[in-house]
């Protein structure tokens, strides 16, 4: 098994190697740090208990303490910022779903009224969800531009790029389906136009718009269909694909800035005679 990276502790915190003759001799030499008291050991044994059953610590060490190439700068935070915007959308979305009723014939608009005008911090949370979607779209485009201009989609990261494009499409689909939910005039008419545009597409266009409308006409079930797509189908897909995206990033490593040359460490080149 390859050696897993260790946490980057400062020198003063690193456990000192045992002096000869110290400790109990079976390799568990924590005597110097003073973890012999049963209470002090409770935390360690709880972690050990979980690790014995899940073997998580190896994966966590592999993920957290892996090295990231030299020269990684602030442009590299755009991806995690996009993911953070998505998490913010998920949390605010859960709170909105607690009050929202996807009922076109009476209820959807009224529940939005309630959220906006009466619920505690309702308009604030709704504003965060509304503007969070704009922020997420901007960040995802900036992240994609960084990847493009740094050539980071090239070998061996082609799959990461493709998953990223799918995530971009899903994000746009999220904002399209979410736009109808307030069920005011703007939401209704923009969605009618959007669905009709889908319908003009070749071959699958009419089927796609029939699927979105849940029938040939915009009806009572259209809203609940958009709601289900917006809060069950698309978020599930996005979470799964973000997981795949992150796994590939961790496995392949974050791409190095293209302007850096990988020169071997000069110290290693020195030859001692």
């Amino acid at each position: 098994m390859p050696k897993l990276p260790a946490p980057p502790l400062p020198k003063s915190l690193k456990p000192k190697p045992k002096r000869p003759g110290e400790g109990n001799g079976n390799g568990n030499g924590n005597g110097a740090v003073g973890l012999s008291h049963p209470v002090a050991e409770a935390g360690v044994s709880a972690v050990d208990w979980i690790d014995e059953r899940t073997s998580l610590s190896g994966g966590i060490r592999w993920m957290l303490f892996r090295k990231v190439p030299r020269g990684v700068n602030w442009f590299y935070t755009l991806g995690s910022a996009t993911m953070f915007a998505f998490l913010s959308q998920a949390v605010t979305g859960v709170f909105l779903a607690m009050y929202y009723r996807p009922d076109a014939t009476g209820g959807a608009y009224e529940s939005m009224r309630y959220i906006t005008d009466q619920a505690f911090l309702g308009q604030f949370v709704r504003g965060m969800h509304k503007w969070g979607s704009s922020v997420m779209v901007i960040l995802i485009f900036l992240h994609m531009a960084r990847t493009f201009f740094f050539g980071a989609y090239k070998y061996p990261r082609e799959m990461t790029w493709i998953i990223g494009v799918v995530l971009l499409i899903l994000t746009m689909a999220m904002s399209f389906t979410g736009y109808l939910l307030p069920f005011d005039q703007r939401a209704y008419w923009a969605t009618i136009v959007g669905v009709n545009i889908n319908g003009t597409g070749p071959f699958i266009g009419p089927y796609l718009s029939d699927f979105l409308r849940a029938g040939p006409e915009f009806g009572a079930t259209t809203l609940s269909r958009f709601y289900a797509i917006h809060m069950l189908l698309l978020p599930g897909l996005i979470i799964a694909l973000i997981g795949a995206h992150l796994w590939l990033i961790t496995k392949l490593g974050i791409s190095a800035p293209p302007w850096l040359k990988g020169e071997p460490d000069p110290e290693l080149e020195q030859t001692e005679v």
């Binding site: 995690s80 504003g127 493709i162 003009t200």
Partner: protein, 244 residues
């Protein structure tokens, strides 16, 4: 990339990676700072701009002008620019689909091992061109009206007062959704209603007003407009009769 180039890349990458710092805490700290900035921006936007809720959706209105979310403006603008109905599917579905496929396949048609953008002239030019195109279309989409807007210039023979009527009536035509059934110049659908591009040379103003009062089904009557907003109705009639 051939096998030798792949191996050269991996070798160089492993050197750079070994010279780097651990993900935790160095990169996590940067990401956390960025997350705080993102959160602050979202909270600021929410507090400063809020989230208004318009009037309730009403499927019976025909005068509402739909607007998409701002980041769809560039798609919306592609639709607006392409006027001939034969090309509409191409603009609405064709262009975005082609762009998406090009985006998907990027790692497959760009196979050179070069990563520095100053040595990838095609990528640099096309990347900047796409950004400028999206920015321009977004700006145009934001500045322009909806697909309901009538894009016609007043004839140069009109007096200043007539031009004023022309522009005011043009707005009423757009708001009333006339373009759904009528064609005006390059705007709107050819049918089921007749073309209105030269309606002023065929009907006198009184006849136009009469048609608006008592139209042939399925066109709705504009009697309500004439009673509620006589000025708007007069502008509408004036505009149509100026279409020589």
């Amino acid at each position: 990339m051939n096998q030798a180039e792949k191996e050269a890349y991996l070798r160089e990458y492993s050197i750079l990676k070994n010279q780097g710092k651990p993900f935790f805490p160095y990169i996590v700290a940067k990401d956390a700072v960025m997350a705080v900035v993102v959160m602050a921006v979202i909270i600021f936007l929410s507090l400063y701009l809020g989230a208004e809720l318009g009037p309730k959706a009403d499927p019976t209105t025909t005068t509402y002008v739909p607007r998409p979310e701002w980041y769809f403006f560039f798609l919306f603008e592609v639709l607006r620019v392409v006027k001939p109905p034969a090309f509409t599917p191409f603009a609405t579905i064709g262009v975005p689909t082609i762009c998406m496929i090009l985006l998907f396949l990027l790692p497959f048609y760009d196979r050179s091992p070069e990563r520095r953008i100053e040595r990838r002239p095609v990528a640099l030019v096309s990347g900047i061109a796409v950004i400028l195109a999206i920015a321009y279309l977004t700006y145009e989409g934001a500045a322009a009206g909806s697909p309901n807007q009538v894009d016609m210039k007043a004839p140069s023979t009109l007096t200043a007062a007539q031009v004023k009527t022309f522009d005011a009536g043009k707005l009423v035509v757009g708001q009333s959704g006339c373009l759904a059934c009528h064609k005006l110049g390059e705007n709107g659908n050819d049918g089921p209603g007749p073309q209105l591009t030269h309606i002023g040379s065929k009907l006198r103003p009184a006849a136009i007003a009469q048609t608006l009062y008592n139209p042939t089904a399925p066109m709705p009557s504009f009697k309500g407009l004439a009673q509620q907003y006589p000025q708007k109705f007069n502008d509408l009639v004036g505009f149509l009769s100026e279409l020589q």
